[in-house]
Symmetry: C2
Subunit: 118 residues, 2 copies
DNA sequence: TTGTTCCATAACCCGATGGTTATGTGAATT
DNA sequence: AATTCACATAACCATCGGGTTATGGAACAA
């Protein structure tokens, strides 16, 4: 893959199916068939998602009889959370106001109106 | 795009260049040229990255003279952090051990079938 | 008006991704 | 030994993503 771990983790989380898989694995290990059941996709598609999750370090796999159990490995999620934590101050409204104040002090000449819409 | 916000946010974070852009914007608004300077890619490539970040809601943009300033919008990161927070218990080593213990209690040996609500 | 600056957009390339159907495979069952 | 179960893998397809070069356009300076 040649991609850093954090990018792989965020990339794995960028898919709703994979996030749902992780959420279900939080309640305990599951087989591929069990994981595939709720989703309207084929079994090979789930196998591909599991491969993505595994190479991101988010699951590990083991055998039980003929089945293969997927197990949640949450440590990489901690790294992702740690990356996000840097911005905790910025999504706090009080700090947002401070940030904007600082921006105004930095560029006193432009009394910019910011239009972020969505 | 037709994709939910959370997937867009995680997808935007899955690229090292975009993460670096966000980190630089944490110190204040920057122009496209300023943002492009540290990276060994062309200006249009940076414009594309900014477009991805904007459609994920992670930046907003405004004009200052002929330049265009990018401004960090951190709220979507909070949603991502909230999603990750569910797993906080799982990446704690003590809880990992507990999790494995529970798993062992759940599957004492060759427990054949798992019952699943659906 | 004419440039110049700063950036967006278009057109293209190519590898990655997410899906499919069809088939192979290893472990358990019979 | 043969079959079945649970899953992986192969082959294929369409779309997406990140990169490029080339060009267009808005805002200012002269």
């Amino acid at each position: 893959m040649q991609v850093d771990q954090l990018s792989q983790v965020f990339g794995a989380l960028a898919d709703p199916t994979r996030r749902a898989i992780l959420m279900r694995l939080a309640d305990g290990d599951l087989t591929v068939a069990d994981l595939a059941a709720p989703f309207p996709v084929s079994q090979p598609a789930i196998s591909k998602h599991l491969k993505v999750l595994e190479s991101a370090g988010l699951i590990s796999r083991t055998r039980r009889a003929t089945a293969r159990l997927s197990h949640l490995e949450a440590e990489p999620l901690r790294d992702a959370a740690k990356w996000l934590a840097r911005y905790q101050a910025y999504w706090d409204a009080r700090y947002d106001q401070l940030d904007e104040l600082l921006a105004r002090l930095q560029h006193p000449e432009d009394d910019a109106e910011r239009k972020d819409d969505r």
